[in-house]
Amino acid sequence: MKRLNKYAILGLLALSSTVAFISCDSDATSGIYSQMYNATDSQSYTIVQMTGDPNKGFVLALESDGIYKITKNSSDVSTPTQTLLVKGYITNDDDDIYRITAIYSSNGTDLYYILNGSDADDDPVLYRVDDVDSSTIDPDLASDPTASGATAITNEIGVNVTPRGFTDNGYLYGSYNGTSDDDNDNAQFALVSMDNAITSSNTIDWTSDGTIIDLNDNYGLSSVIPVLSTTNASSETITGDSDPYSTNTPLVVSVANISRGDSDKYYYDYYVFDGNLKQLVHYATEYQYDVASVVETTDSTASDSTAPDPRLIGIFTNGYLLSMKTSSNTINKSPIDDDYDYTAGNRKAMLLIDDDDSSYNLIMMNEYDYIYYYSFDGAYTTDGDDFDIDNISSGWADDISSSDEISGIIKTDTTGGYLVSTSNYGFYTIDIDDPNSDSSSNGSSTEGFDY
């Protein structure tokens, strides 16, 4: 009996060692530790939007935590400071939580934001703060937003329209469902200038003050990406007098469409409008990915210089590059890096920057932890149909704390960008020309959103 026990134990030891070393994966989809490592509370601090002239300071909103203004020290752009506008959950007396769904500031001193009611049936309300620098806004916007320094522009913003947000150049947009209750009428895209919205008397008449664009039978507007000039992005930010719909600012709209094909599968359609809201491209696709970022570029092969063929290149949130040729109503897609698994992880933000119409930088951020960059050269083929990329370099952007949850990105100019990480309330800048240099990342959990 003793001999049996002895051999049984030795056998268990040997079996354990052998089986353990080989390992048996019962579901070869992704590693357990990878999931554990990425798992953070992504629901707590979601950046709704960042806006404003980054050289003067910009404002951002965290979905469940309030509104903040970030300003840069004039002497050191790498050490931003922050001014707290509204902090804490926005609730009413009944402790219903209101969500900030969109925010806009043209210059970092004025501010518009939309609060959604705690009930899905509540109409969202548009608020304005005239001067955030001298404002005496009560940090507690809780019980009565109108008594805390903000002015309610309208409480009927949601009539016939589901507001979606602000474009970078000063327009409020949403999906318009006309006067019908039929969801399929939600196919229309509504756009109104903030200038018009301001002068309206406590309501926005989208049909007279704004523009309603029919987007065929689609509905479920996903996003709108205004394309800023590639040569001077900061000055392109609306100044009030400029025309945001010049031919240099085409508007990219992506629409989630579930009206065709498999009913439980989302399809995205992409539209490009010119400065006069003339539709240039409508591209129906099965891609289930949003357009994350688009830059305008020039087509050196254009034969008629008086009627340049607008060309855009962009990036899908799955990491595929798209080139949009407006004259032929086409969007081509191709991966930047065949060896890279773009579908791994969740890309929360991607910023594509056009250096000089022939070289580009792409910064991708995973939903949780990582910042990855690509630099590449790109050019249209001689026939103008395809966009070829070459000389790709890539790597991690160093010195970003791996425990930070990265939630947002904003471009500052053509050679730089801000990255914002909210899990540790750190604020980072990155030099796109040298993204992994030690000096390029100046983030610190004690700066920026250290509250």
Binding site: V19, S26, S34, N38, S402
Partner: protein, 209 residues
């Protein structure tokens, strides 16, 4: 604080061990057995991926940077003395941790144990231990409704001591470090291989015979 606690334990154990080396008396005899029930907490020590991928970098993340909370562990174990100071046995347990996304990670280890008892008397004993075995790991991602499990090695080592209220029953403490390497041989998951290490701090009820 954790480092200081561990350091004190090690120093105390070395002192007792040194004293015990010069002691001739032993309490245990070949053939003695011991059953134990263990419960306590597991403090995440580090999580280390061996490769950099699009989802993670090859770097060490300690304690809170693992994004994993302190969890719990419970086990039953058996050991039999093959000399007056060395026992061999087995342990079967259950360990769990929640991560910051409220996702549950648990593992069910089955391991062989070797224990060395330099300190032993009627009232107390002190020991070093090493465990080697396998564990079934399982992780549920609440956000994506995905879950998966895999087998992986389980390695643990540490020190412990028990105070005996009578000849048979005792209450003790145990701590050390546990390593769980994730070793996948499949191409699509091999990049996620890494090691998760914890510091177990355990209470142990033992019955010796």
């Amino acid at each position: 604080m954790k480092k200081r606690f561990l350091s004190l334990l090690v120093v105390a154990f070395v002192l007792f061990s040194t004293q015990a080396l010069f002691a001739e008396d032993t309490y245990y005899e070949k053939g003695d057995t011991k059953f134990s029930f263990t419960t306590g907490v597991t403090v995440p020590l580090y999580l280390h991926f061996w490769e950099s991928t699009s989802d993670h970098e090859d770097q060490w993340n300690f304690f809170s940077d693992t994004n994993i909370y302190t969890g719990g562990y419970g086990a039953i174990s058996f050991e039999k003395f093959y000399s007056s100071k060395i026992s061999i046995g087995g342990e079967f347990g259950y360990s769990f941790n929640y991560d910051e996304g409220s996702n549950l990670y648990y593992n069910i280890p089955l391991m062989a144990k070797v224990l060395y008892y330099p300190i032993q008397s009627v009232k107390y004993d002190g020991y070093l231990f090493g465990d080697l075995g396998i564990t079934y790991n399982h992780y549920t991602d609440e956000n994506s409704d995905s879950s998966q499990g895999l087998l992986s090695p389980y390695i643990s080592m540490g020190i412990g001591g028990t105070y005996y209220f009578n000849e048979n029953w005792g209450l003790g403490m145990e701590t050390g470090v546990t390593f769980i390497p994730q070793i996948s041989i499949y191409d699509d998951t091999a990049d996620d291989n890494g090691t998760f290490a914890t510091i177990p701090i355990m209470l142990k009820v033992s019955y010796r015979n």
